[in-house]
Symmetry: C2
Subunit: 427 residues, 2 copies
């Protein structure tokens, strides 16, 4: 039986979960994988935290050089998060020929090319299943399960915090600010929620997933990004009436002809779409391949044990597979030459505005849309107050640019008090 | 670049799909996988069928020995189906050291141990993603994505034909026989539908999936099996009113203590369960791991290109991974010593019976259930005709044996005309 020594850098939520899984399944992996996975070293400043997990005194260190130079360590698990010091630690491990397993989406999304180049120099492995969608094996699926396909679409709910907030807003009719506060108290949102609620976390993951799905680097700065902070429960309610659920979607499209579209933003999707039923902190990714058609993977996108599951699955993969250690696309800092990123993307739109007088305004609004070649699918007028009428309309597919111009013109109408919301409609 | 020669045994639906994928993606695999996959030989009696696909005359053969002895062939794809001659062909390929990729669930389920032993003798690979749930990478997920977990539950809709029939019965209120006829005309059901509608196909797949999930052989004869031929649209309608959808479920449970339960039968599941929304010919598998929690994979379980996608993904995996070629559990003909298969399994039940007089009967029925320690969750009486009242009740969890005994006693009551249906309620 092969013995494999593991070091864990950081005993935060995911690090502790990873340690517990390795500790409690050692015999199970001996039996089912024929390998003996042994935690040989842990990098953690808070010694007590490590001792509380039952880690031997001699295996706890606050010195990265000591951890990496430990000859018993074969695989280094980085679960610190953020760019530094994680980046230096990962590079040091790779330089010394140790394989690295990481859950660090920000680091990976920004410096993947650099880390991969370092890994290749020493023939060390580099594994990152845990960086995207927690315990859901989406990266393994893209690499080893769907690799026969040209992937044309990727649509995901890949941030648990925002999905939790939007689900509760929909269920309770509550507003964003109050649900966020509650989510923070319950540990579903960070004290500083920016990375989640502004869509950065989803954009990191989309950059990684789209790079794998489309076989070319999709740099973070090419991902269009909008968060959920401006969403009102009123729009969720009106969307519900029209048969839609509101989700923060990560969308990747590839026309198969070097034209790629990547964006993260709130969107309405039909309730009959499988993603509409993905609620609370659950995540899901919907993929379309040219041979397999539509497939969906669903599960927990975060948490100590779900993310730990992905980490340990990567550790086992690293210990048992020697040929495939890196992504197969040309992993550079920018996309391959010839790849075009669509910015004026097409979508359907939900628009809510408040007007004084329905009949007069509608004729003018219809005229503006006609001028920009935008046709309207659905239009509803809500409420009784004829002095302050909310009007909701849903358009056919149109270009972002035309839509923005039309909305500007509507805003200028005398009888329109306010354009309250413009939300994309997908699927 | 590595060149890999492929032979395809049989150009039926899946064989033709596989050929088309390989033919149309050759350049794509060169670019994205750095391998050149070339179809070097095809075993097909119907030469014209092969020629119509554009296969060169010289590569078409009706002689298995010729195909296997071709030195350009590295990987043999078996898509003939059934036990013989597929088994002899696969064994011949393995004997000569060629790796085999198969979609043959019946062969694999019945002779996996024998095929694996033959493969190991020549160090040939043996891959079978396409044998279960078509294009959905469920086997890759069990082997390389969830392997850090003790899997305790596996619940799947893994037969497309029955799901198509049940979906249409639910939507249209139509009866089984008429929907089956239509499904046969449309190509969703075979002329002889037994393997699908009686649950054999699902049982084959469950035997394979449960063996992988639970790390011990789960022989076919341990899988309890019931089909959908006795399902009436009336029960689907009543279930719907009570908040349930009817599905042919494949269920595997492992208590982590060597006690395994495997069964295929129709069952009601709550509409809020993700599997309830899996309709038409779509398939899905719901898995529970001790670390990852619940995950679900959803997609097309059959068809030329979806199943071809799984075949070609296995071909690429076989061509690019050299270390892992077999399942890691002890693959013998029977389960490992100490494993116990539960036969008196527990479930909730939906029971419909027709009675003469409600009040009197209900007291007696309640008495019978009480005697067998079965408590009732829900009870509804349908219809107006007081001479012929359909009564539906749903029980709490009880053992199969107690339930059967109670139903026998109900059947014997003077005021009960008929016990029409007994259907399990899961989840």
């Amino acid at each position: 039986m092969k013995t494999v020594g593991v070091a864990i850098l950081g005993l935060g939520v995911v690090g502790s979960g990873t340690y517990k899984i390795l500790r409690d399944h050692r015999e199970f992996y001996r039996r089912t994988q024929n390998i003996d996975l042994s935690v040989e070293s842990v990098l953690e400043i808070n010694r007590q935290r490590a001792l509380d997990l039952g880690i031997e005194e001699s295996k706890i260190s606050d010195n990265i050089a000591e951890v990496i130079s430990n000859p018993n360590v074969d695989i280094v698990v980085e679960v610190i998060g953020g760019v530094e010091p994680a980046k230096s630690f990962v590079l040091a491990a790779l330089h010394s020929g140790k394989s690295v397993v990481t859950s660090n989406k920000e680091l990976f999304c920004k410096y993947w090319h650099e880390l991969e180049a370092a890994a290749k120099r020493t023939n060390a492995g580099l594994y990152f299943e845990a960086s995207c969608v927690g315990g859901v094996p989406i990266i393994r699926t893209l690499l080893d399960g769907m690799q026969a396909n040209v992937v044309t679409n990727l649509t995901g709910i890949i941030n648990g915090t925002t999905n939790y907030i939007l689900t509760r807003m929909a269920r309770e009719g509550a507003e964003y600010a109050s649900v966020l506060k509650d989510a923070q108290a319950l540990g579903y949102a960070e004290k500083n929620p920016t990375a989640d609620v502004e869509g950065y976390d989803a954009a990191y993951k989309l950059s990684i997933l789209a790079s794998l799905a489309f076989h070319t680097k999709v740099p973070l700065d090419k991902v269009y990004r909008e968060g959920i902070t401006d969403i009102s429960s009123e729009d969720i309610k009106y969307g519900d009436e029209l048969g839609y659920a509101l989700k923060l979607l990560a969308i990747g499209k590839n026309d198969g002809n070097n034209s790629i579209e990547v964006r993260v933003h709130p969107a309405f999707i039909r309730k009959s779409h499988p993603l509409a039923a993905v609620n609370d902190s659950f995540n899901a990714v919907f993929l379309r391949g040219d041979s397999v058609g539509d497939i969906m993977l669903y599960g927990r996108g975060a948490g100590d044990l779900p993310t730990g599951s992905a980490i340990v699955s990567d550790v086992i993969y690293a210990a048992t597979h020697s040929d495939v250690k890196y992504a197969t696309f040309k992993n550079t800092q920018t996309a391959e030459k010839g790849v075009r990123f669509v910015t004026d993307f097409k979508s359907r739109y939900y628009i809510r505005f408040t007007a004084r007088d329905k009949a007069g305004v509608l004729a003018k609004v219809a005229g503006i849309f006609a001028k920009y070649n935008i046709s309207i699918i659905d239009l509803i007028q809500k409420g009784e107050d004829i002095e302050n009428i909310p009007i909701i309309l849903i358009t056919h597919e149109t270009s972002e640019l035309s839509l923005r111009r039309a909305v500007e013109k509507i805003r200028e109408l005398d009888d329109v008090f306010e354009v309250n919301s413009v939300i994309r409609v997908e699927g």
